[in-house]
């Protein structure tokens, strides 16, 4: 039995938090997307060949989208749970008749909604710079939602694990951002010299970027099903970890 009203309350509150900083939430992705397009699309892209029959400017859109989504979703939801722990307002959630299902549906649902808003903003901004058509728009939508769900859960775990602000920022800084940049955001894995194209396959972000690129243009570095599989596996691991955290009350209840 899921308490839907409680879930809805958590969901709307989380969205509210996002909208409270709406200006920043909208402006930041518009600005960064534009900057990337100016630098990579216009300055460098002009000298780049088409990749798999896709113009370089269009090629980087899924990567760019993934770069922003992973960063924003992770930091947003890690703050979303860390701040109530830090300020003590988490008492209300803990004393309410809600369990892991309501909490996750509320938080993750809000994260997915935010991600779709962000994705829409980025796609519209990109359109100002390059022409592109999405081959599988519906699958792209599903894929974005899956990735948003997985990384909001990942952020959630970070926010529960962190016991200071430094720890909160360190994982995205040390792992997420580098792996995303090395994950084929701005290039195809084929373009890497010999051993590196194989080594790159150890980077899970490669599969995420590649999967999204496939939904956009119908071709990618790795098989789409492998990408889907890895995304789902990551999602399942995160759900498992969080369920365990809630059951034991680790870092939530004293």
């Amino acid at each position: 039995m899921i308490a839907w009203r409680s879930t809805w309350s958590i969901y709307t509150r989380e969205l509210m938090r996002f909208l409270r900083t709406a200006f920043q939430s909208v402006l930041a992705p518009v600005l960064t997307t534009s900057l990337y397009f100016i630098v990579f699309g216009a300055a460098i892209g002009g000298r780049m060949p088409d990749l798999g029959g896709v113009d370089y400017g269009a090629f980087i859109i899924p990567g760019l989208l993934m770069l922003t989504l992973l960063g924003e979703t992770t930091s947003n939801s890690s703050f979303g749970i860390y701040m109530p722990r830090f300020t003590g307002t988490i008492y209300e959630l803990l004393s309410a008749p809600v369990g892991v299902a309501e909490t996750l549906l509320g938080f993750v649902g809000a994260a997915i909604t935010k991600s779709l808003i962000l994705a829409a903003i980025i796609l519209v901004t990109a359109r100002l710079f390059v022409d592109y058509t999405i081959v599988h728009p519906f699958l792209a939508l599903i894929y974005i939602m899956l990735v948003a769900a997985a990384f909001s859960l990942f952020g959630f775990i970070l926010g529960i694990w962190a016991d200071n602000f430094e720890k909160l920022g360190i994982i995205p800084l040390l792992f997420l951002t580098p792996l995303t940049f090395l994950g084929g955001t701005f290039y195809s894995i084929d373009m890497l010299p010999k051993p590196w194209d194989t080594i790159a396959l150890a980077n899970p972000i490669v599969y995420l970027v590649s999967g999204l690129r496939w939904t956009f243009y119908g071709s990618s570095d790795v098989n789409i099903w492998i990408s889907f599989g890895i995304t789902l596996a990551f999602l399942a691991i995160c759900v498992g970890v969080i369920t365990f955290i809630f059951r034991t009350g680790w870092r939530l209840r004293s």
Binding site: R5, S6, G88, Y91, E92, L94, P97, V98
Partner: protein, 326 residues
């Protein structure tokens, strides 16, 4: 004496099943500190129960264990007949908590924060009910204000409003009047009184004995994680209360005549003052002092003044804590 009080409570509880039933509750924090040490406590429907205890006694920990913020190390808690270990959803639905710390989302306007609490507990929106709650706490005029812009006392009222938003039958107030001025404190008392009249059972912690004396039906004293006394406020005062009277004598006395010495009196200040200590907090002391003055008059002992004082819950509290120390 504690044994006596336990029996008494047991017999009283037999008449109605308790709303909260805690047995052998122990909490050892990860650092090894035992914050609760075998707590047994029963709370009856509709009562106001005051939990008294010095800093660090375990009051907040006890409340936290009932409200789901603290995982007990051992023992059991039943609320409304639901075992918290398994049936926590049904129990929590009916519990409201006002925490000791002023923690709430400071950016939210009052109205939204209170409505959120109602929704979080799974209830349908009810603006009329929220309005009623805000009005009863004099927050209606502030409903659109951000919580951070309110004064400390007002913030505490917002926390109370949030705790009342889902119409709980059991309310925990962890130091509701800490840092609140006298006037607001009186206001808080009338709010608590009103909730009681609506049938809400209230458990509050406080450092102000005055508050327990004013509000509570029953009092529990906790020290180092153990409940060292639980009883009706009146019974506690009757059992441990004392009357103290100082009678200033017109002429110093060296020895007391037998008809005076039969009272529990002694001479003080070189025989210029007669001190009575006795009674039981139910007025027996006052009556005895009256008898004493008549006896003095009959014995021809003149006096120039009488000072009489009933011991307060505070004295009892202090003496209980002293007892616990030994």
């Amino acid at each position: 004496m504690p044994d006596q009080s336990r029996t008494r409570i047991r017999t009283l509880d037999a008449s109605a099943s308790p709303i909260v039933d805690i047995s052998a509750l122990t909490k050892v924090y990860p650092g090894g500190l035992t914050a609760l040490d075998g707590v047994d406590l029963r709370i009856r429907k509709g009562e106001i129960f005051a939990l008294l205890g010095p800093n660090g006694a375990g009051k907040t920990t006890l409340i936290g264990a009932i409200c789901g913020l603290v995982t007990p190390t051992s023992g059991s808690i039943r609320v409304f007949g639901h075992d918290l270990a398994t049936d926590w959803r049904k129990a929590r639905q009916r519990i409201g908590l006002v925490p000791q710390e002023l923690s709430t989302d400071m950016f939210d306007p009052v109205m939204r924060a209170v409505s959120y609490s109602r929704g979080l507990f799974g209830l349908a929106p009810d603006p009329a009910r929220i309005e009623e709650i805000l009005r009863s706490l004099s927050l209606w005029d502030k409903r659109e204000e951000r919580i951070m812009a309110l004064s400390g006392g007002m913030k505490r009222r917002v926390l109370i409003a949030k705790a009342l938003a889902h119409e709980p039958d059991l309310l925990f107030l962890d130091e509701p009047t800490a840092g609140v001025d006298v006037e607001l404190r009186k206001g808080m008392w009338s709010i608590i009184d009103e909730m009681r009249s609506r049938g809400v059972t209230i458990i509050l912690t406080t450092h102000y004995i005055e508050e327990a004396e004013e509000m509570a039906d029953r009092v529990g004293v906790i020290r180092k994680g153990r409940i060292i006394a639980v009883d009706e406020k009146e019974a506690l005062m009757a059992r441990l209360g004392r009357t103290e009277a100082h009678i200033a004598l017109a002429a110093p006395l060296q020895v007391l005549p037998p008809e005076i010495a039969r009272f529990s009196v002694e001479l003080e200040d070189g025989g210029t003052s007669l001190c009575y200590r006795g009674g039981d907090g139910t007025g027996k002391g006052k009556a005895e002092v009256a008898e004493l003055t008549k006896a003095l008059y009959a014995a021809g002992i003149d006096y120039t003044g009488i000072e009489i004082r009933e011991s307060s819950l505070e004295d009892i509290f202090v003496s209980l804590l002293g007892e616990g120390e030994q």
